[in-house]
Symmetry: C2
């Protein structure tokens, strides 16, 4: 009799465990697109979607659209699956305050209450991080950073974002704002940056930066180039990369110049952090070896001797939908913290 | 009967505790002087001494002299005092290997076995750190960094050393070599650095750096200056500071130029680490406000807006004998680790 009871109990527990699968929701809010996805502890994306953020419309509209999109996504969950919490990556998101603070490319105000509003929408705990910090966590949990404790992620997109992992943890800083490597100075008399400073790294080493370099070169050089038939507003990083792959001299020179600047500043970052590796991600990183090889050459040339030959530079191997993996990693990290 | 036994036991334990005072030995090995001191948990220096290192003589001679000097110092200990362990700060000391690696200003070889040899001499556990990292620990335990978790120490001496405290811990990096801020690049076509690179920060912002600037200015400017009556080899940081305090135009301009470069690069460091403060120490920091004020102006001007007005810059308030407090803090940290 007791044996039968025990059998039923254990059977049900096991059966229950197998049925209940746990997930988190990752939300990556970009200036152009918002990417959301349901992700398990292994980094497998159950379902994800991408839609326009509406950074120039009202914040309330963004929240309404988010609610609709998340509810659509939730249909992929089985009856017994559990969504535990939500991780959000966004530009200028500060985990200390729960706000997006002075986001340059958004018209949602100076202090956007991300955590409180998204918690209200879904009744789940919400954790936020600056998008590049979230990307670094994504690499640490699910990507090339899995077996490393000290590395730097550089996201080369519209701007240059950075996330620093030091001793296995995201480096937060005293005010929650560490990792703004896009705004170290390349040249005090250099290009104007949207942030108000002059000569910031991201005005050279980003998709926008290489575009600016292409246009500088079109003025300086006399060779013909596919780049001469594309307007500034139409030109994308992919176009420059494709032209470079086809041997376009202007595009190739632009990559060399970009790599020279980026590699030099990576040597400065190494002199601060002594990382095991740099992981490059974002639009510009898709150019692959055309970017990677001259970056490594320039970095090695500028490295303090104690670091030479020791620091890896790699391109992120996370899949295309990986933008949601960073915020998802942030969410899983919080859950693991609560367990310990 | 039992009560009497208990009384005797407790009395003896208490009596014993009161008598036994615990100390560590701090050793700061510099290119010119070695400073050693016996230090308690509160950072009080029981006794200390300074003597010539002999960096150009044999390493064996250094060890012999160290043994003599430490044994002299030990006489200050009472019979029941205990020396628990030894902390050593030295240029290019790597805590991972226990070696001084490629120390530029020492003729003791490329890999100097500090830990093993000093342990052999005194039969006590020995812990080492790069001198600037030790200085940062000194500030964290006994100095201006006591109530901070994220700050950067810049030691402005012959070179520019740096120690980074992040989240209450020394930032070590993947190869134990984090914090070589003296070798970030100011100008790719700039001054030659002893390390083989060109335009390193320490060629501008250090005692040697400001001397080089003074000599550049003596060539550029036409005004008379006290600096014109001192040879390069004779000139010290103190002489430049004193001349500046007396209104010497060349010396004042040298401080302004130094501060401009240093403050600019501190803004770059902030863009990595988001520290609560910079603590300046070493010979050049003794100039006080003449250095501090223009450094703050230059840093603020170059800071990414998220950090503006948030980062303190201060001059170390540790006493003159403080060089031994860093290595002592390192030793106490290890003891506290073993307890937990």
């Amino acid at each position: 009799m007791w044996a039968l009871f025990y059998f039923i109990l254990v059977y049900n527990l096991n059966f229950g465990c197998r049925m209940v699968k746990q997930y988190v929701l990752g939300i990556d809010i970009g200036g152009t697109f918002t990417k959301i996805g349901i992700v398990d502890l292994e980094g497998t994306i159950l379902k994800n979607t991408v839609y326009k953020t509406g950074a120039n419309a009202f914040y309330g509209d963004f929240l309404n659209k988010l609610e609709v999109q998340v509810n659509l996504l939730r249909k992929a969950l089985n009856k017994n699956d559990r969504l535990l919490c939500i991780g959000v990556g966004a530009p200028n998101a500060n985990y200390l305050t729960g706000l997006m603070e002075h986001p340059v490319n958004f018209r949602w105000g100076d202090k956007v209450p991300l955590v409180s509003e998204i918690e209200k929408l879904f009744g789940l705990p919400v954790y936020i991080a600056n998008d590049a910090n979230a990307a670094a966590l994504g690499e640490l949990y699910f990507g090339s950073g899995k077996n490393m404790k000290d590395f730097v992620v550089l996201t080369l997109g519209t701007g240059l974002g950075s996330g620093i992992i030091a001793n296995g943890e995201i480096l937060r800083g005293a005010h929650g704002m560490a990792g703004e490597i896009g705004h170290v100075n390349v040249d005090p008399n250099g290009r104007n940056c949207k942030c108000g400073l002059q000569g910031c790294l991201e005005t050279y080493a980003s998709v926008t930066g290489i575009k600016r370099t292409v246009f500088e070169l079109l003025a300086e050089m006399t060779v013909d180039s596919a780049m001469r038939r594309i307007s500034y507003d139409e030109m994308t990083g992919e176009m420059i990369a494709n032209a470079a792959l086809e041997g376009d001299e202007v595009a190739l020179t632009a990559f060399e110049k970009t790599a020279l600047v980026l590699g030099g500043k990576m040597a400065d970052t190494a002199a601060h952090l002594d990382p095991e590796a740099f992981i490059l991600s974002g639009g510009l990183s898709k150019a692959g070896a055309i970017l990677l090889n001259p970056v490594i050459t320039s970095m090695e040339k500028n490295l303090f001797k104690a670091y030479r030959g020791k620091i890896k530079v790699m391109i992120s191997d996370l899949p295309g939908a990986s933008a949601v993996l960073g915020p998802a990693a942030l969410a899983w990290q919080q859950i693991n913290r609560m367990k310990t």
